[in-house]
């Protein structure tokens, strides 16, 4: 006859009064004692017991063992009163942190690469310390939350912030001196601005001067006109100000058009691509939402996932097939001479990027269009507004945030794009490719870092500008909740314009992909058009093992990416804690940093010393994990936003810890977003190039890097075969996901998820 509060509970964790802190301290101690603490070479395996702490003698590296032991001893005494328990937990947190710091101080001062023991013990110490923080109420939540917070903070610092800091360091810290020499050298190099090309007939410097003069003249006229009513003394300083601004603007435009350097080229392309891709995406989204034709919707659906499953430079490469010097359309049909082909340079890069980014814009804008309530449009209509008027006054202002988010994303992706300029850049240089060329061609880490810093600076600038001007949040929600009701049909004329635009776009996309398939089955593109399966056979022999290896690494990276990303999304949306904005900022950073810069950063951070990891598959997996984590974060966040918090609170009042709640309540409800996040993380890992191109080595080549090498070496047939296989495989995966989503949707509706 006893109450629940008095019956001894049956679960082990409650029967033995052991908290998370001593248990994880014990695990840290075990891992420390059981595994070799360090490595000698790059390889993690086989385990070498000469590197076991016992064989290494006495020293500071024993700190974790001492700390763990002390904490366990501390917890051996019977449970004291709450206030004492809190003080004890505080003490444990301090001791464990000291153990952690001691270990790494020892390893860094010895300079030996860390081993399994160091890694395992550190993670366990972190978990124990996090649990202690929650026990002492420094972090509100249970041990799971505390440990999760510490672990994610550690990961973000180690794999995002620290490598980026290393890039900045390497740009200004050269041979032990703090200097801006490398900046000076890079900025004055012809690769950076590159005004005069002696091999062309025009004098670029003069053209730029013309532009500057024109800008100045226009500004002079405008300044005189606009200030005509002002007092003389005001005109005296306003007009020169205008002229100065006009000169600078004219010079900037001139240099973007005539300069061939990395900075103006990158800016020119971004400035054109972002609005163009956004407009195309908007047109497609509007059409897709309001057309009655199911065929158009189906086509849009398929076409919008293509860029995600296509390695970034493949569009550029099929454009060479189609529009290049010996292209099907340019050479064979239109008869343009190979030497007068305008594709290479800005036009080609712009075209390829617009095609690649329009679907991204489409998805973002479709999200904000779908979250629009049709009743608003109907209301405006009943108030007497015409269709155009409704669009202008209601629809447009409400989708503007989506437009802004799309502009932001498209500019960042355009600036960061590495593959397209490499294939189509011609005589223009681009910042993202310059990072690569500086490192692998000119062997200058500091120069590559300067380019990296410039890129980072640009991206941050774009972010700040978009926040400041438009109030855009970093994470745009791609999925919107579709509202009920019917949307206003498009004005007839507009529908026709949009339809023909979409038709043109789709025909172009279709020919681009068709050309790849065609290129994979002919002997030698443009020269010998006999059909053959030679390229597929060669691919099977040389390429398939690499694709298989890539798939394994991608799976290995997608799962942790989803787990860490989901954890971060959960912590950030559901908890308040110290370091929360840092976590958000860090994940934003990993999303915004151009891939080549991240790749460079990993080389700089993990190429030697204690953190040595380059030339292992671990470094590739890690790069992919933290590169694709934002995808997972976004998927989980939009899922979490739809779940009422009272479900978790109900679970907590029923005595479930946050780990249990995550597993039993949130995960089942988030099944679809989690699955989608997982698949997209896998797909982006499969198609990643820029972030891993520095990290591959002889033994661990990746499919996309191999593909790029084939394109560069001109083995177009094999490249086409490889691209075809990759695209078909990933497309099949996405189709599978769609089928699963139908199934999950139906199942959830049956159980009332959609209330």
């Amino acid at each position: 006859m006893a109450d629940l509060a008095q019956t001894p509970p049956r679960s082990l964790s409650r029967a033995i009064p052991l908290g998370a802190v001593p248990v994880w301290s014990g695990i840290a101690l075990l891992l420390f004692l059981a595994l070799p603490l360090i490595r000698t070479g790059r390889r993690f395996l086989p385990l070498d017991y000469m590197l076991h702490p016992l064989s290494l003698g006495a020293g500071l590296h024993w700190a974790p063992a001492v700390a763990a032991f002390a904490v366990i001893a501390l917890y051996l005494r019977p449970a004291p009163r709450p206030a004492q328990a809190r003080r004890r937990a505080d003490m444990a947190a301090v001791i464990l942190s000291l153990g952690f710091v001691g270990l790494w101080a020892a390893l860094f001062s010895a300079g030996t690469p860390f081993g399994w023991g160091a890694m395992g013990a550190s993670l366990a110490l972190c978990i124990a310390a996090g649990s202690a923080l929650s026990e002492s109420n420094r972090v509100r939540g249970d041990a799971f939350t505390g440990a999760g917070i510490l672990l994610t903070l550690l990961f973000v610092t180690l794999f995002i912030t620290y490598p980026l800091v290393m890039v900045i360091r390497s740009a200004v810290w050269i041979e032990g001196v703090l200097t801006l020499d490398q900046f000076r050298a890079t900025f004055s190099s012809s690769l950076f601005l590159f005004v005069d090309n002696r091999f062309t007939e025009v004098n670029e410097a003069r053209m730029v001067a013309y532009w500057a003069t024109a800008g100045g003249a226009v500004a002079l006229a405008w300044g005189l006109w606009s200030s005509r009513a002002a007092a003389l003394w005001r005109r005296a300083w306003m007009v020169p100000l205008w002229v100065g601004a006009g000169l600078i603007a004219g010079w900037a435009v001139g240099i973007m058009i005539w300069g061939r350097g990395a900075l103006p080229s990158t800016l020119l392309v971004a400035v054109i691509v972002a609005p163009a891709a956004t407009m195309l995406g908007f047109a497609l989204a509007l059409l897709g939402q309001r057309t009655n034709s199911r065929a158009v919707r189906g086509i849009l659906g398929v076409a919008s996932v293509l860029p995600f499953i296509t390695p970034p430079f493949v569009i550029g490469f099929s454009m060479i097939f189609l529009l290049g010097r010996r292209g099907l359309l340019s050479h064979d049909i239109l008869g343009i001479s190979p030497f007068a082909n305008p594709l290479y340079g800005a036009p080609g890069v712009i075209l390829a990027q617009v095609l690649g980014l329009a679907p991204v814009a489409y998805l973002i804008i479709r999200g904000s269009l779908n979250s629009l309530n049709p009743a608003l449009e109907e209301a405006a209509q009943t108030l007497g507004a015409s269709r155009w008027r409704v669009f202008k006054d209601v629809t447009w202002p409400l989708v503007r945030p989506g437009i802004a988010a799309s502009l932001l994303l498209a500019s960042i992706e355009s600036i960061a794009d590495f593959g397209t300029p490499l294939v189509l850049g011609g005589d223009r240089n681009f910042l993202a490719t310059e990072v690569f060329l500086a490192l692998t061609g000119r062997y200058s880490q500091s120069e590559a870092s300067v380019y990296g810093v410039v890129l980072l600076f640009l991206v941050v600038l774009v972010f700040i500008a978009s926040r400041w001007m438009l109030g855009v949040k970093g994470f745009a929600t791609v999925t919107g909740k579709p509202a009920s009701g019917a949307f206003l049909a498009l004005p007839r004329s507009l529908e026709w314009i949009l339809l023909s635009l979409a038709g043109l776009w789709f025909a172009f996309i279709l020919s681009l992909y068709g050309v790849i398939v065609y290129g994979s089955v002919v002997e030698l593109w443009g020269i010998n058009n006999t059909l053959t399966f030679r390229h597929y056979i060669e691919f099977w022999n040389t390429g398939w093992p690499v694709v298989w290896y890539t798939m394994k690494l991608s799976v290995a990276s997608a799962i942790p990416a989803m787990m860490v990303g989901g954890l971060i999304a959960y912590l950030v949306t559901r908890h308040r804690f110290w370091g929360r904005s840092y976590l958000e900022f860090g994940s934003l950073l990993s999303f915004a940093t151009p891939g080549t810069v991240m790749g460079l950063a990993y080389i700089l951070a993990f190429n030697d010393g204690t953190l040595l990891m380059t030339s292992t598959s671990a470094i590739i997996v890690l790069a992919l994990v933290f590169r694709n984590m934002p995808v997972a974060i976004r998927a989980s966040m939009s899922g979490l936003a739809q779940i009422d918090r009272s479900l978790e609170e109900a679970s907590a009042t029923l005595k479930a810890g946050s780990g249990t709640t995550l597993v039993r309540v949130l995960s089942p409800l988030l099944l679809y977003p989690l699955l989608a996040g997982l698949i997209f993380a896998f797909v982006s890992a499969m198609t990643a190039v820029s972030q891993v191109i520095f990290l591959v080595s002889a033994g661990n080549n990746l499919a996309t890097v191999m593909l790029l090498a084939r394109v560069e070496r001109g083995q177009l047939g094999v490249a086409a075969a490889m691209a075809t296989v990759l695209i078909v495989m990933l497309l099949a995966l996405i189709v599978l996901l769609l089928v699963a989503s139908r199934y999950l949707d139906a199942r959830n509706r049956g159980k009332g998820l959609s209330i």
């Binding site: 109900a650 009042t653 029923l654 005595k655 009332g752 209330i755």
Partner: protein, 352 residues
């Protein structure tokens, strides 16, 4: 045996609890409250006065900024929800949509790794308590609002909580059902001897269901007492106005009589002499041979009573008069008004 009917309710003690969200006025301001084992206490007040926040601090879902909370013998001020023997019935019910009724009710026991046989027994018992045995295998969205509400109740009861909390549990039900379910909740609470804290902004619900009502205003406790106490002897204009309806007119008190316009009404109450607020419950108003002079302004028929508005020298007074007390009153008629002593109470004058 391990039956829900044998749970052991605990006392709850809030000692000077304050909760601040960011800068600005605190959501809950220096609240002290003792709840005896087996007592049902209602937190009542207008929207935004801090009822939910107080409740969530008892549950452990919100961390108090200052003060101390004890449940039974244990200090729980900073203990998270999962470490307290407190369960809660949420306004939205918060039923897990991916589980059926049985799984929802059994969730807490499963988390506590209760042996299978005992779990089944207790879930059955809880379902029987709320009369839902027949619905155990239903998905929760295939239930009516009232049934969902009872699942939420069963899910909270099955844990044999030392304290059970209700946050406006009836606000999603229609008026008829609300009366019915609140009677059920009260009966169950009494039968099981539960310690319960119940939040509502419906004063009638509060009066009907509680052992004790705590009236809150802007994060502070305005007054607490039994429903009868609060109704008959409110301490402020706020409470008088919030609980039931009341006429509050300015008057004077000289220690033995209330001077109201030209009338003197004998009354004894411990209150500072001089200007006072006179609270008159509408049902205490009757036409009489002599008393406060009044003129009928309007009459509206409400069913059981007639609501009659009088203009008096002290101000507008509303009375609720049954038909047989009307005596042929017409708009414009002049009458004298008397007030039943039970419906008359003096308040400190309204601060100006």
């Amino acid at each position: 045996m391990n039956r829900i009917t044998e749970l052991q309710p605990a006392a709850v003690d809030l000692g000077r609890v304050t909760k601040r969200f960011g800068a600005g006025a605190p959501a809950v301001d220096d609240v002290s409250l003792q709840i005896a084992p087996g007592e049902l206490v209602t937190l009542l007040g207008p929207s935004g006065c801090g009822k939910t926040t107080t409740l969530r601090m008892i549950a452990g879902l919100e961390d108090p900024t200052e003060g101390r909370i004890t449940i039974g013998e244990d200090e729980v001020t900073h203990l998270p929800a999962e470490k307290r023997d407190v369960t809660m019935v949420f306004q939205s019910y918060a039923l897990f949509p991916h589980m059926n009724v049985r799984a929802n009710v059994g969730y807490g026991l499963k988390v506590a790794r209760t042996p299978r046989a005992e779990l089944t027994d207790r879930v059955e018992e809880a379902l029987a308590l709320v009369g839902l045995e027949a619905f155990a295998e239903r998905p929760v969205d295939a239930l009516s609002g009232g049934q969902q509400q009872r699942v939420a109740l069963a899910r909270a009861l099955v844990m044999k909580p030392r304290v059970i909390l209700f946050d406006e549990p009836l606000s999603n039900l229609d008026a008829k059902l609300r009366h019915h379910v609140r009677a059920e909740i009260r009966a169950l609470q009494k039968r099981l001897g539960l310690t319960a804290v119940y939040v509502t902004h419906d004063q009638e619900e509060a009066l009907a269901i509680s052992d004790r009502v705590v009236v809150m205003n802007s994060g502070r406790i305005e007054q607490q007492g039994t429903p009868r106490d609060l109704y008959a002897r409110p301490v402020s204009h706020f409470v008088a106005d919030f609980i039931g309806s009341a006429n509050i007119v300015p008057g004077e008190y000289d220690g033995s009589d209330i001077v109201l316009g030209d009338a003197r009404i004998p009354h004894t109450q411990e209150i500072t002499q001089g200007p006072v607020g006179v609270m008159i419950r509408p049902e205490a108003v009757r036409p009489a041979a002599q008393g406060l002079a009044g003129k009928v302004v309007s009459i509206s028929f409400l069913g059981p009573v007639n609501q009659v508005d009088f203009d008096t020298p002290a101000g507008r007074v509303t009375g609720n008069l049954p038909d047989d007390a009307m005596g042929g009153l017409r708009p414009g008629a002049k009458v004298a008004l008397s007030f039943a002593p039970r419906g008359l109470h003096l308040l400190p004058p309204r601060a100006v």
